[in-house]
Symmetry: C2
């Protein structure tokens, strides 16, 4: 958690657009699912996070009503951009974080199962400590994919990219992949992980950070 | 995980009793659910754990057939005792572990929901680092109870004991509880946590350890 003694995260986004009340509620849900609800530092959901979207109507536009209209989509995209920047800032500020990880899961049957696999990777202490060590430990990531709760996942169909490097496919290490390539990808402070599930057209991205000595220090020594 | 480069955990238990094959399978499942399947160090399930129960029949007893008979229960209790000692030994040997935690969840509607709440507590990095710090952080434990996935849990009914001390009830800190009592309970290397859900008669116990600097060290520096 980020501020365990506070209220814990309160997010406010305001727009001058005129938007119907129910439409605004749909929009904030759409945005939260793709920003604040897909970040995690340690998997510990706080008891009292809030995201509030306020529309003053001062822009004088014809009131936006109903999800899926062109106006809804345009405004939702803008609000989402703001929300993602804010949500990612929470991860970058994660306790002891030294690496920022974007985990994209593609080829799922539903967005929900992609989020589930992404969070399984993001919550694995073994994955998080490997990223802290800048170690391209493919087994730990693939193991977390397998622990993502998709009972009928076909391991032969799973692909794994670190950055732009294909590191695993067809149930094993990718042909031509060398650990030097993996190490080069793991060195920077921002790393993209891409998992293909090979069973559908849905995708989702989850953002997280690594797990360092300082995570333990901050969360164990906070009262001394 | 305990030996990430090996096969990973192979458990073998043998008895001279004569037991039918299907009955033996029922017994090993019964035992695994109450021993190896309720321990966790970091929530990272390995890909290839096995528990094998072997019955030679050399004891010459009338063959035990069928779950729930007196003979089945007597043998199952003995095998369970062996399995729990072995399973708990894995936790005591957990990477960087300084504390051994027994988490008992009572008053659930099903054993499964009790296991789920127990594992939610056992997997919370915030709970695990608080135990490393010997800090009686009630909020972190109660938060993990709330994250245990019981949608209609009534927080007013939840009780929390650390050792024999009632620390929380009726949605708040227990009357008369002092932090000095909590700190005294947190000091030893073995700690019992007891959660009451107040909604049924089922219970389950999960065993885990704390989360220390050395967990990160062992899992980040393992290749250097």
């Amino acid at each position: 958690m980020i501020q365990p003694n506070m209220a814990t995260m309160l997010g406010f986004i305001a727009t001058d657009a005129a938007v119907g009340r129910d439409t605004l509620q749909d929009m904030v849900r759409h945005v939260a699912e793709r920003s604040f609800n897909v970040i995690t530092v340690d998997g510990d959901t706080s008891t009292n996070d809030s995201l509030v979207l306020i529309a003053t109507g001062r822009a004088g536009n014809p009131k936006i009503l109903g999800e899926g209209t062109a106006e809804f989509n345009r405004l939702a995209d803008c609000v989402l951009e703001v929300a993602q920047v804010l949500a990612q800032a929470i991860v970058r500020d994660g306790e002891g974080a030294t690496k920022f990880l974007s985990i994209t899961v593609e080829g799922g049957r539903t967005r929900e199962e992609c989020v589930r696999v992404g969070k399984s990777i993001a919550h694995s202490p073994l994955v998080k400590t490997a990223f802290f060590a800048s170690d391209p430990n493919l087994g730990r990531i693939l193991c977390a994919v397998g622990n993502g709760g998709i009972a009928d996942l076909d391991p032969e169909m799973v692909t794994l990219h670190l950055g732009s490097v294909l590191v695993a496919e067809k149930g094993g290490r990718a042909a031509g992949y060398t650990e030097e390539q993996g190490k080069a990808v793991m060195a920077p402070a921002e790393i993209a992980i891409r998992v293909g599930l090979g069973r559908g057209d849905e995708s989702a991205t989850v953002w997280t950070c690594d797990f360092s000595y300082d995570y333990v220090k901050i969360n164990a020594d906070y009262r001394s």
